[in-house]
Structures are given as structure tokens and as C-alpha cells.
Symmetry: C2
Subunit: 330 residues, 2 copies
């Protein structure tokens, strides 16, 4: 039984962490919830009774065995090293430590063994985690020469207020009122925005390069040839991704479906004739990542495959993966 702390417990990812811990019967002797002074004193109801948000301090957070952080990168960078000076282990959802050579970046279905005795463990970018859990079993069996990804990302990736902006501004749109934007650079209702995060020197966005660099690190293959186009669309909490791959060895959809049916963390939903495929509507609030539209790619032929994945951005893309890491530590 472990003492667990969550920092950033009032955010949308923090709340899903609480849900996941209880829903999965995580062996906890204690759960403490930390946030900023502004939120301290607030009550949070859980299946085991009400909990009170505490103002974050390093001293108190250090008393937990495992600390889940759902905070900004700069906050994590400052405090995670201090929290882990004692025995506490930190699992951090920000991008602060993901590319640090001495810190593991973990999708448990792929590289749980990287956890070893790490004190600070990075939780991947949401789009990366959702892709990795579906792509890795294919990579292991067939090898990958090229991976080309286009994403359909939900507003939850930009936080609770972004989801509310989608909802409220859509209402304004339908009522004929002025549609504005604050969390997004352009109005998001009935629109899409083909840039997420800042731009990098090669004219890919940082979100796109996270998918590239983090997948390489998780797969232990710095030469993995992968590119991405990251697009925000007006959905709430599930990211979808259209993926085309060229493989090292011959591949076919039947084999892939067989392999994925036995893989952890994925659910094959692939009967397009009967309109069964991954969708935000069905993938939201689900632990498993949906995969479907699996077909032989008509350019790469027997060395090529197309597929479509959809996973809950707040769960596999964030809170669930962090809790799974904690489960693996225990």
C-alpha cells in the first residue's frame, strides 16, 4: 500500500488521475491532493469520501511514496527534483523531462522495463502515447521504414478552459452571437486549427516534433523515420490519428488484426462496412485505444498499411498512462 500525492489535482488531468486511481483499485493507504493556494480548501468527492485540496509545498509532497504531477513544465522542472530528494518518486505529465537521457519516458505497454529505479519518470505527450500503444505491436512484428501521421486532436489537450471555449463559443455561434477566442488563436467552433504548440526551426510544430522524438525514445530507435501533422478539431476529449506505414517485412491486415487482438491497451474496432471504426464518440472515457480502418496501403502494397486510431486524450493520453506507470512501480 502506497501513499500517493497528486499535484495539480484541480485540473482536468488531475481529476482524471483521481478517478483512475480509485477505478483501478490502486493499492493506496493515502491520497493527498495538492494545488495552488487559490484552490486550497476546496473539497473533492471521491468514491472513498471527501478529500480537501491542500496548498502545495515540497515538504508535504515529499511525504508521499509516489507523486503524480499534472502541472506546467516550468513548475515540474523546479519542484520535481526537490520532491525526489527523499524517497518519493515523481511521475510527471509535462514535457519537462521527457527528452532527458537519464529519465525514462514510458508507455507501460511498450517500455515498462525502462522504469528500473528511476526517481523522476516522464509521461509522454498525449498524441504520442495513443499512437505508441497501437504502433508498437506492429513495429515489433513487421519493423517500420516510414510512419506518416496526421492528427485530429481534441480541445482537452489545451485544458479545461479550452474545452469550455469550444462549448461556449459553439453556443454563441448557434445563437447568432459573436464568436470569439481566447485559449485558441482562432474561433474553434466548426473550424480546425492546423498548428498545436509553438513552431520549431524546421517548420514543424513542437507538438509534431514531440510525436517524432518521443516515439523514437519510447521505441529505443533514434533512427525511426516518422513525420506528423498535428491539427486541432472541434471535439472534446479524444484524439484521432490517421497513420500510413511502410514496413521492413511484408504485412497484411489480417495478421495485424490478430496481433492487435492480443495486444494490451488497444481495442480493434474494424468493421467499416457496418460503420464500426474508431471515433471520439466511442473512444472517450475508455481506457483502451481504438484501432480500425486497417487496410493494405495501395502505395507500399505488401509492405504498407493504413490505420486509424482514437484514444481518450485525458486517459491514455495523460492520467491513465501516469497511473499505469505507478502500477508498474508498485
Amino acid at each position: 500500500m502506497k501513499k500517493i500525492g497528486i499535484i495539480g489535482a484541480t485540473g482536468v488531468v488531475g481529476q482524471e488521475m483521481i478517478n483512475c486511481l480509485y477505478d483501478r483499485n490502486f493499492p493506496m493507504s493515502e491520497l493527498r491532493l495538492f494545488a495552488s493556494a487559490r484552490s486550497a480548501g476546496k473539497k473533492v468527492s471521491t468514491p472513498k469520501g471527501e478529500l480537501t485540496i491542500e496548498e502545495f509545498s515540497v515538504e508535504e509532497a515529499k511525504k508521499s511514496d509516489i507523486v503524480l504531477m499534472a502541472v506546467s513544465g516550468s513548475f515540474a522542472k523546479e519542484y520535481a527534483p526537490q520532491i525526489t530528494e527523499g524517497d518519493a518518486i515523481v511521475i510527471d505529465n509535462s514535457s519537462a523531462f521527457r527528452m532527458d537521457n537519464d529519465k525514462p519516458l514510458v508507455v507501460p505497454e511498450v517500455n515498462a522495463k525502462d522504469l528500473k529505479n528511476a526517481k523522476i519518470i516522464a509521461n509522454p505527450n498525449c498524441t504520442t502515447a495513443i499512437l505508441a500503444v497501437a504502433l508498437y505491436p506492429i513495429y515489433k512484428e513487421f519493423g517500420l521504414k516510414k510512419t506518416i501521421v496526421s492528427t485530429y486532436q481534441a480541445t482537452s489537450g489545451a485544458g479545461y478552459e479550452a474545452m469550455m471555449e469550444l462549448e461556449n463559443e459553439t453556443r454563441n455561434y448557434l445563437e447568432g452571437k459573436e464568436v470569439s477566442c481566447d485559449k485558441f488563436p482562432s474561433p474553434i467552433p466548426f473550424n480546425l486549427i492546423p498548428r498545436i504548440d509553438i513552431m520549431t526551426d524546421n517548420n514543424y510544430s513542437k507538438e509534431e516534433m514531440k510525436v517524432v522524438n518521443e516515439t523514437r525514445k519510447i521505441f529505443h530507435n533514434s533512427e525511426l523515420q516518422i513525420s506528423c501533422t498535428a491539427v486541432r478539431i472541434p471535439t472534446f476529449r479524444a484524439h484521432a490519428e490517421s497513420v500510413t506505414i511502410e514496413t521492413e517485412r511484408p504485412i497484411n491486415p489480417e495478421k495485424v488484426r490478430d496481433i492487435l487482438k492480443n495486444a494490451k491497451g488497444v481495442e480493434v474496432i474494424d468493421d467499416p462496412k457496418n460503420w464500426q471504426f474508431p471515433m471520439p464518440l466511442t473512444a472517450s472515457k475508455k481506457y483502451n485505444v481504438e484501432i480500425g480502418r486497417i487496410r493494405q496501403n495501395i502505395i507500399f502494397n505488401e509492405y504498407g498499411l493504413d490505420f486509424f486510431v482514437c484514444g481518450d486524450q485525458l486517459l491514455k493520453g495523460a492520467a491513465l498512462n501516469a497511473v499505469q506507470i505507478a502500477e508498474n512501480i508498485v
Copy 2:
């Protein structure tokens, strides 16, 4: 000055055809609007006064010089040959004649020369037309080895009632009412549907194979290596497409931007640092197709490019292209 007829004038594409003809000052001596008996007698206001919808008959339609058809494939297949028995020319927006060897399939910026003396001319699939106008200048200059497309398609592609379903069911969602679907197989608000049209034998959808086969025909290259994933998203009337290409000859973004700045039918919007890129919000109701996010692809390097296009499905994807064909005939 030509006598013009529109069949299917009450539909959403038919209405845009009327708008385009007047807006572009098409040299018309007469415009007649045909629809089913149900719509006959309805009045349509135009910049040149009110017009009355007539019930369609072959005899009356034959009296026009150019007939624009915005009807179903089966209707077009039955009546276009009869209408063109005399001097009338038909430009058909359905898929009925697109792959017929003896009938041209035309995007005027690409292959206007195919029009020759054809009596029935096919207007391409919306996604194809929007892609072709942006892709062709690149193809001509650099050659294409591979083209991989993922789409973000608006509800207008499924007709007016589908657009209304998005609007009405989104309202239901926001009011906490039950969200249902009729024109779509699943609720479309805050969702996406990764299948458009029926499925074909190779597990691509018919929409996806239209992009493949029609682009090949328009480019006069039956060996063009192109694949597509077609996805419906909750937007109203502009389709977006994420495109990755491998070229025959070295390519770079600066050259591409230069070429596209001088190309017809496209508008380069490519300043992602300042949040300037193609979006449904800006591409809707615009004749030109927006292209941006132009960057060197990190897999294919000097032989690779990524870009993002967005074009009005009802204009370049349908009505405008048909009217442009008519302009070329005149």
C-alpha cells in the same frame, strides 16, 4: 451569350452554381432553373431578378446551350445522354461519368485542354478538385513518387440536410437533449466519422478511391502513386487535407511557395508562427484553395514535402469548378 440551364437548382450545389454564374458575370442570355415537380413554381431571387423553378423535362433542358447538373449519379446517367442528343453540352457534378474513357474529367487549372468538343463533361469529386488545384503545379515542377492524403471533410459534402443535422444536433447536445443522427451513421456533433461513401473491395472507401482514380485521370498519369484516408469532421462547408509527398526531383518549401504564388486557383497562407494557415473559417465562401504549412518532410528530406490545403467544398469542390468549365467552353 449562352443559354444556361441548371438541373437540381434547389440543392445546395445548385444554389451555389447560380451565385457563381452571376458573381463571375458569366455571359448568359438566359438562365433556367430545373428541379423536381415538388420544387416547381418556387421562386429564387437572383441579382437580375426573380426566377421560377421549372419542373425538369428533357425537352426543355435540351434548349439550353450549357446544362449544369447537380443531381444524383443515377439521374445524370439516365438524362445527360438524352439532353445532349441535340446541341446542348452537359457539365455533370455527379460521379456518373467521371471514369468514362470517352468523357473528360476536368479541373480547369489543370486540364482544360481535355474539354475539346465533349458533349458530357464530368466535374470531379470535391476532395479531388481541391487537392488537384494545389498539387498539380508541384507535380509539374518536381514530379511525384508518392502522395499520402488524410482529409478533414465538411458536412456540406453530404448535402444541405447533413449541414442542418450538424447544426441541429449540436444544439441538442448543448441543451442536454438526446443527440440523434439520420444523414450520418453516428452523431456528428463533436465527433468525427472516418468513412465517407460506401466501402470498396480493397477496404478503402469509395470517397478515398475517387481521390486516387480521379487525380490519376485529371493528371493523365494512371501510375500516380497516391493513397487517401477520408474523414468527416464537424465543420460546415470547407474540406481540409493533410498531404505528404515524395517527389522525383529535389524540392524545397521556398520554391514551392514561389510556384504556388503564380499558380491559378490557389492562395498561399503560410505564416504558422503568426497563426496564418488554411482553415475552414477563412477558406469558406472563397474561390481560391488555401495552401500552407508548407515544409520539408523529415522522412523524405530534399525529396519530400508536407502541406495542408483547405477549400470550399461547395465552390472549388463543386459549383465553382463546374462554372469554370462552362467559362472554358465559352
